[in-house]
Symmetry: C2
Subunit: 119 residues, 2 copies
DNA sequence: CTGTTGGTTAAGCATGCTCTTTAGTATCGT
DNA sequence: ACGATACTAAAGAGCATGCTTAACCAACAG
């Protein structure tokens, strides 16, 4: 059930870099041109372009070029799918904890009763 | 507000590898020894150890050694924080969409009225 | 047409990642 | 004590990443 998307690799990889996360955070505030994305970042424009390429390869960001200006925007879908994987993983853990709790509860009460009858 | 944790780098990096995600998924089902983690994986034990080291460095997994057996378990906390970053990012986007929707709604009704008065 | 702006390509380099093999070191069962 | 088990440490091959600089191109502005 989990791990159906081969692009989870690309998405997590994309989000593993602080520069790219900063770009994503910027894009949650609305679409931006390449220059606008690059402006606060302490690196050359080509470096930013390469980060952008990684983000686009993962599907997190889409961009269109009009005239000589390329405008980028977030694609929320991939973000959701990634969120979902984490959620599923945590949910599996939670369910296990519930079962474990129920199990402990089920065997510990009888033990208590044994202790009571022993003492 | 976002991006406070330097360990987001390590966490996303850790989750970017399918082998490590498989290990995490296995660990949602309960703790496991190194050999148990390695058993379904198509690689040498040292390779698995290295993946485990990455997972431990990120804080996603903790492990203790008893005798000659090392037992690993998930630390849900880091998973939660990562989930939270994604959630925050998506929430920022959602809020923006809401504002945008409200804005469009606010200016489009007056425009309609203008159209109405013009025609 | 000419210069400037916004972006793109390519090459190169340092570093990091993933896996391997080889060679260990502790335990544990008998 | 001795072999088997479970892991660990070290070193290296080979490819991927994250930058850089140096060109280059296409679209506008005057």
């Amino acid at each position: 059930m989990l791990n159906q998307q081969p692009s989870l690799d690309l998405t997590f990889q994309a989000l593993a870099d602080p520069t790219r996360r900063a770009m994503v955070e910027r894009l949650t505030q609305g679409s931006a041109t390449v220059s606008e994305l690059a402006q606060p970042l302490p690196m050359s424009l080509p470096a930013v372009m390469q980060h952008l390429a990684v983000l686009e390869a993962s599907g997190l960001v889409r961009s269109r070029k009009v005239g000589r200006v390329r405008t980028c925007q977030l694609d929320i879908q991939v973000l959701r799918e990634t969120e979902r994987w984490l959620n599923q993983a945590r949910l599996g853990w939670d369910r296990r904890m519930d079962r474990l709790g129920a199990f402990l509860h089920a065997i510990q009460l009888p033990q208590r009763q044994e202790d009571d009858t022993d003492s």
